[in-house]
Amino acid sequence: MSALHFRLQRTLAFASGSSRLDVELTLGPGEWLALQGPSGAGKTSLLRLLAGLESPESGFIRVGDDCWLDSERGIVLPTRLRRIGYVFQEHALFPHMTARQQLAFARRPETPSARLDELLELVGLAQLADRYPSALSGGQKQRLALARALAAEPRILLLDEPLSALDPELRQAMQTLLQTVREAGLADHAIVVTHDLPEARRLAERIVRLHRGRIFSDGPAHDLQSIHPPLFVPKEPPCASVAAYS
């Protein structure tokens, strides 16, 4: 596992005006981070920039020795090569694929197909593997979206309010599932957007709060008193080498 270090800058436009997203963070190996903040703070935009679904005005993303983005050097790794597992708020499940087909589609060529059964088992959908998303409940869809993201063997898991639409019981079950994923080390890093503080503390080791595109507070999830604004200034060039992917 390796560290994730990024700085991303972009103007966020809203109906009521605009603000500038400027966030720099370093995540240690295996670290899970919860991202909080009011609507328009830039949480989803940050995830989309990390995934390469949107382009920053400037910034860099470094995962270990690999460079995914360096605007100064003109390096932009396309989304498909970033090894991202993105769980969208709206699930984004393909309506024409069964649960198993969604995972098979996401599977990397070198991953054995038995892994799909393990993932379906993990998220409790082994019995529903042949169902289409339209025949699944909200909680089942969310679990399937997580399993699909994991099937791609991501280095970074990005979860955009994965539990927001669930009732309290399902939410609890999904939190337990995410904890299992975290303990199993199925992704090098994870960034979870959540509005719920107890949930953030349960899922992540660290909580970062955004406000108007800036980091408002940053600290360990277990000790809210010690959260403070970050003062990190990078001393080395953002990207030492260009990532080589096959």
Binding site: R83, H96, A106
Partner: protein, 216 residues
């Protein structure tokens, strides 16, 4: 005549699949130069009288036309008064009926599907084949069925581009026209019933397709 009609319908449908998908995809993407002109060109056969469209195509693809002459001289392709002319007529007549629903389907597929597929490491080509295409299956098949029905019943453009040459360019619809002109009403009725059965069958296919789950 029936075999010729079937060949024209098959060739026209193959062209409709290729050009319907390509043009529908292109027209669904906003903000590029020439999009409006292409949209008008594709839609024109739907609103323009078939005889006038046929005449326009005859002027363009005729032996002395701006496209017909180079096609004949450089590639030996003679579109007018030949099987190719019939296919061109069927293709042009049915094209908007395929392109428009496909374009609309492309526009209505949530962008998030393609984004999700990108995060799963898929190329744009894989996204097109495995994510977008299955989701516009109903629109494509519906459009193809309508276009096939339209091209089977096409007379105006077929007359202009095919020339109504006995044994060479007389399709089923033209044969009905010829039979009526010659007073052979029984023959006209028989072919009409046959065409009615084929188009009725296509309508059943269309209805069944709309109820089936998405995908192939």
């Amino acid at each position: 005549m029936l075999w010729l009609t079937a060949r024209v319908a098959l060739a026209g449908s193959l062209l409709h699949v290729v050009f319907g998908l390509a043009l529908g995809y292109a027209l669904a993407r906003p903000g590029w130069r020439g999009r409006t002109a292409l949209d008008i060109a594709v839609t024109l056969p739907l609103v323009f009288p078939p005889m006038a469209t046929g005449f326009l195509l005859l002027m363009i693809f005729g032996r002395r036309g701006p496209l017909g002459e180079p096609l004949r001289e450089h590639f030996g392709i003679d579109l007018i008064f030949s099987f190719s002319g019939l296919v061109l007529a069927a293709f042009v007549a049915g094209l908007p009926l395929v392109v428009k629903p496909v374009q609309s389907a492309f526009e209505n597929i949530p962008k998030i599907y393609a984004e999700a597929a990108r995060t799963l490491g898929k190329t744009e080509w894989q996204i097109f084949w495995f994510v977008l295409l299955p989701n516009l299956r109903n629109a494509l098949i519906g459009g193809l069925v309508l276009a096939l029905g339209r091209s089977l019943g096409e007379v105006g453009m077929t007359l202009m581009l095919g020339g109504n040459i006995e044994g060479r360019t007389v399709t089923a619809s033209l044969d009905i026209y010829n039979a009526v002109i010659n007073g052979e009403f029984e023959r006209a009725a028989a072919i009409s019933v046959l065409l009615g059965l084929v188009t009725g069958g296509l309508f059943v296919v269309l209805r069944r397709n709309a109820r089936a789950p998405l995908g192939w």
